[in-house]
Symmetry: C2
């Protein structure tokens, strides 16, 4: 059982390896289904936006120059020559000293270059208006092309489509959008002690908890989970299931079976797969040391620790970045996401030579966030349920003092 | 057009009104579909977890007392009396001076109360082991019921099911979970100037941008968007569409048509609906002042500004809290979510008497986040695309100084 200790890889090296896996292919989706998806091409505007000079306030369209010098004590008099109907090209034009009623979103008539708000004007009779304030040119107006111009690169490949990006795409008339497919992630649970959750595990066995945490994590990270069930500690069964999983999925997660010793056969199974290579066997982080990363036919296979909390930490720290990367998300988005600054609420000791990930709860006091470490054995599920996220203690640190600014990786 | 200014309501009052709408009904879902959903009942454990004393390390199960005093210089000698097979109740028991091989997750044999790690032991021959270090009782062991005990209230009604909560539910053997339905949100776009996005708007008209930003926002907030199309500025058409929307949805959003003046008929339409009441007509925030909130048959109807950026701000500040609340999310979760602390990168002026929402980009320098206001007219869509979130300037403030700590509401 004690036959060898694996040579651990540094976390940074594992994260660099994630760059060596290719992105999934593209698909084209109707715009209304695109929120949360990743653009697979740059979006270049084919129009000027807006396509006409548009009012941004309810009021009166005028030539700005004719309002110059107007004030509460010396209002300027204007003749009302008509109304802009919403959605219509104005039938009237505006000359010096003339005003046209206009509502937010309306098209400015010819001759007008400014909109006077209702509050700064008073109607004297049907045809006459007093204006109390000088209007600057282009006041309460959005000019043609001020938002976007034809040929502008509006959205970049690799960016996530949020509601506002859906709005831009709608404004540009893009009804069908090129996005990356959602990566399909196979989930395999291994171990003689694991039973399906609907079974009573009795004494000595455990329900398949990892299948469900991993299903949730994959879904929250933009992937599509595909559960392949539980496999016994048996070379042939695992080998056959891995082959099936590789045929259907873009990435494979095997939980359990990645520790030293009796479960070494997970490594043997991966090595027996087509054009496979073990890239990592053991990572200098805690929890999560016995992690495996391998490649078979350009696809990543992860061996995750069987312990629930360890598997979740490994997912957040290593699997998610790889999943987001093969899902097409660009680098700058990866770095910024999922992190919130906070101050540590107490001293934290740590062992040098490995990156420690500590579960914390975020407490808000005034304008400051505090990261409060969750106490209790790491193998307990309730430590994950109580936590809001993880704080990293670098491998070169012996610990962090109370009050140290940290970044909490949310989950 | 200038016939009356509406009496504005304070934001706090609007948020209090959101408490007066009932939650949607429950449904029961298979556990693997529950991530992101809201629990509609408390979850009480029906078992002890774990159900047996479990090893959390690979090593040797021993009686802790027999290791006391062991050291590198004076190791303690043990007899190896067997192996715990994973998933099996151990056939052997442990007496003083005896050790049993055990792997992570294995069940401790009778008599053993501690696990010695591989690193602290050396096998001399098939039956003999040296241990170099004293083991504390319960070292590397999780005791029966240490995670959860029968009858414990594990998860609370109103909490969101994250991957770790899925894990807990799996561990408890809960295969089907009571959750709140996802609220259905009807989206209606109004205005003579609005055309479907696949149409060329020509001069003077606009594509229906709000339908898409709102679709995205509803989906990101846990709702199910249901688009009812574009309706002209026409009482009968809007009235008929609102009735259909109320029959199918839990909440109705009407964008456009909520400003003073020619579009007052939105108010008239709402007032003509069954047992309806206008609760709010105008809110003291900017952008977003011309917002309407009404109730018809216990359901919320919102009139949102037609301008894209304003409608998005109103959604984040008022509609989302109401949507999350009727979706069953509990109060404490609502408050904490979606906000990141940062320091303001420059001075910001503001008008007293209303809450200003300023679009900002978050820049990270060292361990500090900076909120950088996005410049440019508020009507431009690209100000939303460049932004990471909103900063609120309170109605009693004349502005915020550079360096002020703020909280960024992410979007």
């Amino acid at each position: 059982m004690n036959k060898e200790f694996f040579k651990v890889t540094r976390l940074e090296t594992v994260l660099e390896l994630t760059h060596t896996f290719p992105c999934v292919s593209e698909e084209v989706l109707p715009l209304d289904q695109c929120v949360g998806r990743i653009l697979s091409r740059d979006i270049v505007s084919r129009i000027d936006l807006p396509e006409f000079n548009r009012a941004t306030m309810d009021g009166y369209a005028v030539e700005a120059r004719s309002t110059f010098g107007a004030s509460e004590s010396v209002p300027a008099l204007f003749t009302i020559v008509g109304t802009v109907d919403m959605g219509e090209v104005p039938a009237v034009s505006v000359k010096s000293g003339e005003a046209v009623r206009i509502a937010t979103g309306g098209m400015l008539p010819e001759g007008a270059d400014s909109v006077v708000m209702l509050e700064h004007a008073q109607v004297l009779d049907e045809h006459t208006l007093e204006i109390f304030k000088s209007a600057a040119p282009l006041q309460h107006v959005i000019e043609i092309g001020e938002d976007f111009r034809t040929g502008d690169r509006i959205l970049l490949k690799g960016s996530r489509i949020r509601p506002q990006e859906m709005g831009v795409l709608a404004a540009l008339g893009e009804t069908h959008i090129p996005v990356y497919r959602q990566p399909v992630v196979a989930i395999i649970s291994s171990g003689d002690e694991i039973v399906p959750i609907e079974q009573n595990p009795g004494l000595s066995r455990l329900r398949d908890v990892n299948a469900y945490t991993l299903t949730g994590l994959v879904r929250m990270s933009g992937g599509v989970p595909l559960y392949f069930g539980i496999v016994r500690d048996n070379f042939d069964e695992l080998h056959s299931l891995c082959k099936k999983a590789l045929a259907k999925a873009d990435m494979v997660l095997i939980s359990g079976g990645s520790s030293v010793g009796s479960r070494d056969f997970t490594i043997d199974v991966i090595e027996a797969l087509t054009s496979s290579r073990i890239l990592v066997h053991g990572v200098s982080i805690s929890p999560g040391k016995p992690t495996i990363l391998a490649r078979s036919e350009q696809k990543a296979i992860w061996g995750l620790p069987g312990q629930v909390a360890s598997a979740m930490v490994v997912f957040h720290v290593m699997v998610r970045p790889l999943l987001e990367r093969i899902g097409g998300l660009s680098e700058d988005r990866l770095a910024a996401a999922h992190e919130v600054p906070a101050a540590l609420s107490r001293n934290l000791a740590s062992v040098q030579g490995r990156d420690d990930y500590v579960r914390v709860k975020i407490a808000r006091r005034g304008d400051q966030n505090y990261a409060e470490p969750i106490l209790g054995k790491s193998g307990l599920i309730h430590t994950m349920v109580k936590a809001d996220g993880l704080v990293r203690i670098d491998m070169n640190s012996e610990g962090l003092d109370k009050g140290t600014p940290v970044r909490v990786m949310l989950f």
